[in-house]
Amino acid sequence: MNTWPAWLRSGRVLLGLGIVALVALIALFAPLLAPNDPNEQNLISTFLPPAWAKGGETVFPLGTDSLGRCVLSRLIYGARIAMTVALVASFGAMLIGAVLAHVAGYFGGWVDWLIGRTVDVWMSFPPVILSLILMVGLGTGLRNVILAIVLVDWTRFCRVLRAEVLVVTRRDYVAAARLIGFSHWRTVTREILPATMPLLITLLSLEMGIAVIVEAILSFVGMSVGATTPAWGQMIADARQYIYDSPWNLVFPILLIFITVLGFNVLGDGLRRTLDVRLTETKRA
């Protein structure tokens, strides 16, 4: 037990990791887990309640929607979109944000100024509007959803990380590395990046939660993947019209989004607590 790294021994991290892993496994094995074809319509049995409620059928464990599609199957397939977006989009945003943050914080001067002002301008757009505009321009589709999220959210990484890079760059050991003859590249990757990595990982897990929400918003307004691919936001949008006929259809996707985002946030919080050197250092002192 004690040979495990500290971050794996934290209850928060384990809980968050557990939730995220569960959703990821569901997404991965969707074809095996889903009881029905998520797009198969069954117009005779629309608005069926869950199997345990009165009038429910065991074929559709969580009931059906307005077109008689299996809600459980749609949820399971929807997890694929959510997880793909969460992982790929946040990695993309992290990559752009982290590279620019390190360049800005390490070199300073006009480079820092330029990147800083770009972030300022970028962040003055309301993020949801910006991604909507992007989606209108790019057209729907999974790849474009990811692209839109990356283009909107890299600023979050850039701004927070830049401050950290600035602090680390002022340490004497960075100056010492330069005096010894380290190139800029080696100084940043060997001396600075290891110090900013904990913050980066923490931000990444929080960003994954945000990406899930943004994707849900976009698909809610029909600006995400096409109508033929099940997505959680889409399910909410559909169910919204029949909220009095079939409240269940609204509850399940919302619950799933809630649990997934909670998982990412708990994971991020746990990582922050265990990886943040400053927090652990003060505890030791």
Binding site: R171, D172, Y173, A175, A176, A177, R178, L179, I180, G181, F182, R186, R190, E191, P194, A195, V277
Partner: protein
């Protein structure tokens, strides 16, 4: 009657559920109008004594035995309310870090006013009292000062404000916890004199906590030397200094470089046991480091016995203590070969700070020129802000010079890549603060062989090299796999030096590398540098605000003042016959070797 009397005072800490005595059976008495010095290295428990009196003990610490009486009343058993009422009114505290002791978001006046309100001064009298207090500590324009914030004042001014606040209530006892450690020498001298002045005016008793035995010998009437939470020696300052009754006192004396004559330093080996090790100590805690140790020392803790009139020492071989002398010979001023390795001429560095509509220029280094010869150690002294560190950073290439020339081993530094590579081969820097200079995520072996990483050498080759380097700088081989956080301050500084030496530079630039270290660790490092110089032969620019250290180590000295060199020459000559007014001020600010000498017109102890 004594103002403060401790009898067998014992303070314990609860660490991981275990109770460990931190202060053991300490007894002392402090008379009104007298100064008691608590001396010892960090970890000796001297601050803990001060904090016990001031009731500032940390959460898990408590008095577990003995008594501590203030003006006849026992502070330990006293009702907490009554005890609190004494603080600030009868007992005042001057802290070590003046800047962090003042609230940064309140004006000086507001903070002083709050204090006066607490001690019950009527609101219409307060302003007058404040101005009078500032006047007493020689702070000019007191009315302006009231509206200022702490960050707008220098460290020395903040310390004066705190002294003014401490003495405002005319306390009977003032506890000064290393009040000058964070300040420059010239300011230290003024602050110490100020405390003495205030103390004489009000006939206050002062407990003066310091690590500087020489300063204590000047300032204090009595000295209590602490080691590992126990009194090792207690007596009149002059006697303790002239005929130390405990080997520890004598070793501290010998570890401190002398100002007048150049003599060898005695570097105490190892270090003081940590708190957790206290309970495992069977005999004398100092025995493992003591040059006089015999078998009997390890049996039982030696009692405090009389070695002279009013002079006690806890040593069974007290009579021999004063006879200890340093074995290692002083680093002879090795004749530097007449080859110039570094030449600096007309070096100037401006900084520009830009605000929205205005640019302000600030000249940190002004027209500095000097020559460093092979195998020569040159000291650079001056107060903080005199441009010493900037000069160093320009020479190693961390800053670029605004004007002037630097020539390293016959090659001018013109900013070309070739010149930079040449500079890196020849010059290395040892940074001041090892905490910041060592990457906390690298192991020691990886840190000291960083230059080999650039050359792309294998890990095995680097480990082998690390082993050699560690032996050379006196660290055990198992340190190679440790992280910097697992080392002591002195060990970290050794690692810091080892990294600079790895590339076999011909010039080493050391920026305040022994400041902030205990005197025994400082002596170890100074001896190490002297030994390395004998074995390797390199030149060094040694930047320090501590004149005695420069006196010990360096062949020549440059005195810097406001960015320029005001005096330079062979160390002996500059120290014996300073030509410039500023050099004289600096030298006068250092407490003399012999406490019998008059320093800063201090009252004599006779």
């Amino acid at each position: 009657m004594s103002m403060l009397v401790a009898r067998d005072l014992t303070v314990s800490a609860t660490l991981d559920g275990e109770r460990v005595p931190v202060i053991n059976d300490l007894s002392f008495a402090l008379q009104p109008g007298k100064v008691l010095g608590l001396v010892g290295e960090s970890g000796a428990g001297k601050s803990m004594v001060g904090r016990t009196v001031a009731q500032l003990l940390p959460q898990n610490f408590a008095v577990t035995g003995g008594s501590l009486s203030f003006a006849g009343a026992d502070l330990v058993t006293m009702d907490p309310e009554a005890r609190r009422a004494l603080l600030g009114r009868e007992i005042a505290f001057i802290p070590q870090e003046p800047l962090s002791a003042l609230n940064p978001v309140l004006t000086i006046g507001r903070q002083f006013d709050e204090h006066l309100a607490r001690i019950g001064v009527a609101s219409r009298d307060r302003r007058e009292r404040m101005l009078a207090a500032f006047d007493a500590v020689h702070l000019q324009r007191g009315a302006d000062l009231l509206a200022r914030y702490p960050h707008q004042l220098s460290g020395g001014m903040c310390q004066r404000v705190l002294i003014a606040i401490a003495f405002a209530s005319k306390p009977k006892l003032v506890i000064a916890d290393e009040p000058t450690t964070a300040l420059d020498v010239t300011i230290q001298a003024r602050i110490v004199r100020l405390i003495a002045e205030m103390q004489e005016r009000d006939d206050t008793a002062v407990m003066f906590i310091t690590h500087d035995l020489r300063l204590a010998a000047q300032v204090c009437d009595d000295i209590l030397v602490l080691y590992a939470g126990r009194a090792s020696e207690y007596g009149p300052a002059r006697k303790v200094f002239a005929t130390p009754g405990h080997p520890y006192t004598r070793c501290l004396q010998l570890a401190n470089p002398a100002m007048r004559a150049r003599r060898a330093l005695y570097a105490l080996p190892e270090r003081m046991p940590g708190l957790r090790a206290y309970r495992d100590i069977a005999g004398c805690a100092f025995a493992p480091r003591c040059p006089l140790v015999i078998e009997d020392c390890r049996r039982a803790p030696p009692p405090l016995v009389e070695v002279g009139a009013g002079h006690q020492a806890a040593c069974i071989r007290a009579a021999l203590a004063a006879g200890i002398s340093a074995a290692a010979e002083a680093p002879g001023a090795e004749p530097a070969a007449d080859a110039t390795i570094l030449e600096v001429s007309g070096l100037t560095k401006h900084f520009t700070s830009r605000s929205l509509c205005r640019r302000t220029h600030f000249t940190a280094v002004k027209d500095v020129g000097f020559v460093l010869r092979q195998n020569e150690f040159v000291g650079i002294v001056g107060e903080s802000g005199s441009g010493k560190s900037t000069l160093a950073r320009v020479i190693v290439g961390l800053e670029t010079a605004s004007e002037g020339r630097i020539t390293i081993a016959a090659k001018p530094m013109d900013g070309s890549a070739e010149a930079d590579a040449h500079r890196r081969r020849h010059v290395q820097m040892v940074f001041q603060d090892p905490q910041s200079a060592l990457n906390p995520r690298r192991r020691v072996a990886s840190i000291v062989t960083q230059p080999l990483e650039v050359a792309g050498q294998s890990w095995e080759a680097r480990l082998a090299r690390a082993g050699l380097l560690l032996r050379e700088i006196g660290l055990p081989p198992e340190a190679a796999t440790r992280f910097p956080a697992q080392l002591s301050g002195g060990q970290r500084q050794r690692v810091n030096i080892a990294r600079a030496l790895c590339a076999v530079p011909r010039i080493l630039i050391a920026d305040e590398i022994v400041s902030g270290l205990d005197v025994s660790v400082q002596a170890q490092l100074l001896n190490l540098l002297a030994a390395l110089r004998r074995e390797r032969g390199f030149s060094m620019l040694f930047i320090s605000h501590d004149l005695s250290v420069v006196r010990y180590l360096c062949d020549r000295v440059l005195v810097m003042y406001r960015g320029g060199v005001v005096e330079s020459g062979p160390t002996e000559q500059v120290f014996a016959a300073p030509a410039h007014e500023y050099t004289r001020t600096l030298l006068a600010a250092v407490p003399p070797d012999d406490p019998a000498e008059v320093w800063l017109s201090f009252r004599s102890h006779a």
